[in-house]
Symmetry: C2
Subunit: 244 residues, 2 copies
Amino acid sequence: MDQSHGERRALWVFAHPRQESLNAALRDAGVASLREDGWTVDVADLYAERFDPVLIDGGGEDVRAYQQRLLAADLLVLQFPLWWYGMPAILKGWIDRTFERGFAYDVVDPDTGRARKYGDGGLAGRRALAVVTAGDRQASISPRGISGDIEDIFWTLLHGTFFYTGMDALTPHVLTGVHGATDNMVRVMTEGLRRRLRTVTTEEPIAYLPMTDEHYDHSIALHAHIAAGESGGRAHRAGPVPRA
Amino acid sequence: MDQSHGERRALWVFAHPRQESLNAALRDAGVASLREDGWTVDVADLYAERFDPVLIDGGGEDVRAYQQRLLAADLLVLQFPLWWYGMPAILKGWIDRTFERGFAYDVVDPDTGRARKYGDGGLAGRRALAVVTAGDRQASISPRGISGDIEDIFWTLLHGTFFYTGMDALTPHVLTGVHGATDNMVRVMTEGLRRRLRTVTTEEPIAYLPMTDEHYDHSIALHAHIAAGESGGRAHRAGPVPRA
């Protein structure tokens, strides 16, 4: 996924049931912004494509097609409204079904026989961005807010999914207090998203520690001297631990 | 939900696609154990009931029926394999669709006009337990394990869903390293689950702070003197902050 040559490609996965929604307006603005910047954008509208999120036996023609669309992308955008502090089921199931073992993780390295994951999965070389709308007020989603911080809420997506499969996890673009947004607020939010998308190739991803002997012991817990005394998601970041 | 009189009722929601699985064996053992202890247990097998997890417009006859089954229960058990450090889509969608606004949260108090949530939602008086199987080794799911601690992984379920809707969140019953479990390991795990279930009415739930003026400011962030200097999920617990 060398981005210095040829075109840049994005897969924009959209998981909102309504086309007249704020989310649809954000999607349209975001996709347009990327295209203006020269990206080729493939939009996967899961509701419109009538995606079936229920994993039963694995595989399926639809899954193969989504995997190809994912492999073709340098950037994965997951856009969704925050439901129960997580993804809508249709999007969770897209991950359950598309991110198969042997494709997104536990890809066996032919030289070493090692099953690649945590910073080195099958989707390595890609960047991943979550674009999320939430009804909560901004202060509620903060290091000391009642709903937890962005990194608390999205730990399993950022570290356990994006980073696990080898992607560089970007800081989520979270829009809060979206219920009853006025036209002016929608304009401010779409402009903010456009600005944010201009930095997706240059900004620093979240610096999670790779799963190497340098950082983790044989049980895959942090060595005592790494982020000494810390626990929780922040302990797994390189550099100083961010504080409230 | 006064449990001192009459029968105790549980709703056991099962979200695994296969009946010959470890999960099915655990479900059978768990349900039998509760029944032996005098519980009336209603099993909702989401795959067998062909539940549709995709929320579009809300409502639906199936949702009304699940809401009634939930209201009838003193104890909610959600049993699932950990997929991408979260619930399978079919179970996430059960929450998306069943835990409707006005039913599970934002139930308006007729006296005060206040919309009840966070410790005081529409499901108050019930206890909730997640029973989870994971392929990860035990040390990987621990305060300094690479996958994060149980409370990091389940923050959005325990606090953002169970507690949000007013239920008492019990510490999840998590079984690790389950792939390729031998018959003897299955026996050990089913026995462990039976033992655990004997304490569901007497054990202390996770002591999350209620959303009151005593603990939270007008923006619903913690007052500076509550869990001073702490952030993340542990800051929202009463009493001393657990450490790694």
